[in-house]
Symmetry: C2
Subunit: 340 residues, 2 copies
Amino acid sequence: MKIAVDAMGGDNAPQAVIEGCIAALDDMEADIVLVGKEDVVREELKKYEGMYDEERIQIVHAEEVIENEDSPVKAVRTKKNSSLVMAVEMVRDGSANAVLSAGNTGALMTAALLRLGRIKGIERPAIVSAFPKLGRKGEFVLLVDTGANVDCTASHLLGFAHMGSIYRQHAFGTEEPKIGLINIGTEETKGTAMLKEAFGLLKGSGLNFIGNVEGRDIPRTEADVLVCDGFTGNIVLKLTEGTAWNVFKQIKDKLTEDFQAKLGALLLKKKLYSLKEEFDYSNYGGAPILGVKGLVFKMHGSSSANAVRQALLKASEVCKRDVIGEIEAKMGRYTEHGAE
Amino acid sequence: MKIAVDAMGGDNAPQAVIEGCIAALDDMEADIVLVGKEDVVREELKKYEGMYDEERIQIVHAEEVIENEDSPVKAVRTKKNSSLVMAVEMVRDGSANAVLSAGNTGALMTAALLRLGRIKGIERPAIVSAFPKLGRKGEFVLLVDTGANVDCTASHLLGFAHMGSIYRQHAFGTEEPKIGLINIGTEETKGTAMLKEAFGLLKGSGLNFIGNVEGRDIPRTEADVLVCDGFTGNIVLKLTEGTAWNVFKQIKDKLTEDFQAKLGALLLKKKLYSLKEEFDYSNYGGAPILGVKGLVFKMHGSSSANAVRQALLKASEVCKRDVIGEIEAKMGRYTEHGAE
């Protein structure tokens, strides 16, 4: 089992990416293939000489790098020797079981679509992001889609629900995952015409659909998977992140304003730290792009070494299960029989 | 100057509504007309006998009440003698300068549209909600629309921007309000086709447009007014409220877990309280429904007496300024000359 890692993708690449690989290696089954500029990667790996099993990390040279500013489609077409494209191709060619990149999201999406192809029955691949629930330690919800498709139809959302459900079950062991639909009210009649139609499709889908979930209830929803268009999902993900981050920053500022506050903060240090931990998105691994014929994980552009490590551990676990095959089988059945 | 208050609207009506009126009266210029079941209102007012200037609170009897479960359009058509409809009609008839209700939002919207009519040049009225900025004490942003229109065109958003700008200036004294467009990226090319078009319209609008604002940046945006469709606005408003509420709840739970934490919390009591205060939405008044020919303020269904008081103080201030006239003049000019 091997995971291809785009060594050059992300704001902190290659340092954080490689540090994350080294930190993950002992705790994961899969071996790693670092795809990137060979000399740069070798130089970086030197730091860890003797600290890891060199047989388990292979290097594949890639001459080019896709930058964040590059136009996705154009970059994938012209930078054929980029680390991102070559890493994705390793999955297509069967030389890796999964690929992981913190690089240009649009380019990763495009490469996944063009190089791996779409699973039959899936109209649109989607990005699935994990989202810690507030005040429910260790619990989290998967959000589908968080940015791949800004305009969606009801049937796209149905596909997202199926893929989210399968991924939740196979990657996290949740039986009959509860599926919620993000909407502006709990009643079936709320929202846009598209959402009303999606509600009907989900109700008849055979999935464990629990109904609409309002913005207010997202932070501690009962759902295991929340479905929405990629525009809404992106806003929800980033807004929660932004709000939580700002609340913590403000608490920190308050707690260092004067002596009494500092003393109080000292007594609460552990508690406040554990609170911050609960919000850490990176604990749930990378965000898979589901719907293509291969396992592709997107990491946050600013991923730390620890985030890379977590993403690798999860990817290695997921590789052992046949998520792609499950989606293919499910969507095949679905396409044959229609939405009962 | 008079403000018509729907005494029967809201989860805590009439108690919280009337308590809020009494608490506001001394600090506001406008007098109050309580519209509702006369015996119920009189009974409630008895509690405050001798504590307020009885000449400044008038009662208008309304036999019916529109419930939250009522279908908006049907309720406005059939419950002609309801407190909500009659309160709105007082504005139409010139017997009140503004109306305020914590009742059924859809019904208030419908009554405003049917009884007051739309301002010429405004395609869609919108709900404007204030939103405290995180870590910027006392600063806030106005969000337009937060739920009146789930599906929007680019030109609807342009109208929202104009109305939001005028309201911000007249109700809060901000000169040349900075207008932001909620989107999934800062670049002009991001988002749906509708948002790309809206970006262009806003750029050429003569408004102080500062560009796209991402989910992550909403909590402490530079913008004074953020524009979006009513679906997105509703999700953003409620998600922020939900996230902030849950973070505070969790802090509270942590701080009472054991003795050391309790001691620390005691030292930080003031700081943490001031933090919570900064998040209090009700400090910025009710949410005006702009675009109709009259001042209509919607309050949260669960409004406390303090929220009602704040909404009344703001409404009384806004009554003195000709917000409706300004919107009429602006949109008239706009309709004549088009978007330069």
